[in-house]
Symmetry: C2
Subunit: 305 residues, 2 copies
Amino acid sequence: MSVVVVGSVAYDGVETPHGKIERMLGGACTYIALASSYFAKTKIVGVVGNDFATEDEQFLAAHGIDLEGLEHVPGKTFYWAGVYSADMNDRTTLRTDLNVFADFAPKLPASYRDSPYLILGNIQPALQRSVRAQMNGLRLAGGDTMNYWIRDYREELIETIREWDFLLINDAEARMLSGEYNLKRAAAKILSMGPHTLVIKRGEYGAILFHRHWHFIVPGYLLEEVFDPTGAGDCFAGGFIGYLAEQGFDLKNGHIDPKELSRAVIFGSVLGSFCCEKFGVERFRSLTRAQIDERFQEFRTFTEF
Amino acid sequence: MSVVVVGSVAYDGVETPHGKIERMLGGACTYIALASSYFAKTKIVGVVGNDFATEDEQFLAAHGIDLEGLEHVPGKTFYWAGVYSADMNDRTTLRTDLNVFADFAPKLPASYRDSPYLILGNIQPALQRSVRAQMNGLRLAGGDTMNYWIRDYREELIETIREWDFLLINDAEARMLSGEYNLKRAAAKILSMGPHTLVIKRGEYGAILFHRHWHFIVPGYLLEEVFDPTGAGDCFAGGFIGYLAEQGFDLKNGHIDPKELSRAVIFGSVLGSFCCEKFGVERFRSLTRAQIDERFQEFRTFTEF
């Protein structure tokens, strides 16, 4: 079953200890959609300028991604540039040119509206809300946010996530949103805001999924070389929603299967780990579903006791 | 089968966001032995001054710990004081009075020498080596170290761990010892120094066990309240060696069972997590084996998928 992904489609300039790329395809929507495309039909909603390269569009199309909702407007595509610290745990933004993204007002094509799965990349909460309102018969909807919206758009954000099934954020964001340092307490507070499922991403340390009465923790995959962590969190989100869409996950017609949600966290982790192996979206040029399934099995091997 | 534990027996002054204790029983040997005592007969080697309280000795004895190797000498017991940061991920040492520990020269009672399991707390590498040399028929020997020995006693330390089966250190120490930031590469280098098994402790993020051709990762247990992390790493070590001793782990008469080593890491994590629930060794006044086994099962529940 199909997944609708909404968010930024961008060009990124990235510098890590392994090298520097001036301009490469990026954006949350791009990463989420690429990861999700290995599991389910994926439809994107985004906006690009007239500098958006045909080859980049072809690359997305080659992954079976539906581009009907990718709006082309005069101007330049969103551009972001940043540099990572030596250990790659911190990054500094060097440049953020919103360009055509500044006026992004997501419009869903009619063919998207009945998709059962929706994932909202990190954009203004009111926009996320407007997208959800355009859809019918959703089985599962949720998304990401960031410190900026938590701090300066708090009420709007809380209104928005109240309608979500899941929220996918990192540990610092969870602490900021809840006002609790301890993650277990933070999770309890956030779950009382609406979503039945909270996934807290912890970078190299993995992720925790909190549901009302249980939680699941996965450690991060050990890579020998992290080339570029850009997009890893979004790829996590894409693997998570993609797998659930593939399984036809449905909350309303039955109980939640904790193991199914847990496996979605593993597939999220798998996709996030592959993302780091090359710069930007490069790893997705060669990545196969067989490699994804193999790494999923690896997670079993190194976590079972 | 019995475990010999060597290391500091001390009094600690600790301040965390939850409170301040001027003086409480502590020391690596104490924590390791308490944790190990739930699994196997545990014999300690350490030194205390004439200020060492009878009630503290009784507390250890009540856990079945053999105190024959606890030397009493004139003077004061080792005293350490420190204060934790608000998030408890960092601590600052306020005071280190070595006192009688300054001249510690571990002497093994004859009744300890045939114990099959030896764990060496963080002391000077040459002392650790001298203890190992006093023992016969060891099945498994290893221990801990710290940044000071890695930096200033490097050659001595490398000579020492060459004879060990396992090394149990934290991530910063593994990076320092190997000169590699990446933990997978760091582990490969350290395993080439002698030990067949390396356990890297990651504090709240859990631990990784590296063996030559495989590794096992466990996430940290989520506590709602961390009262005092003092001793958690040592309790991890005690749970690890204690469980292996209980199982009669033997490398020489058979192959290594990865699942048995992995379960030892889980028991280490379980004991480390209990340690944080109260100040100092307080949790060990009420902790039962049934609670330990229950938490072990909890680890299965929140890691299985």
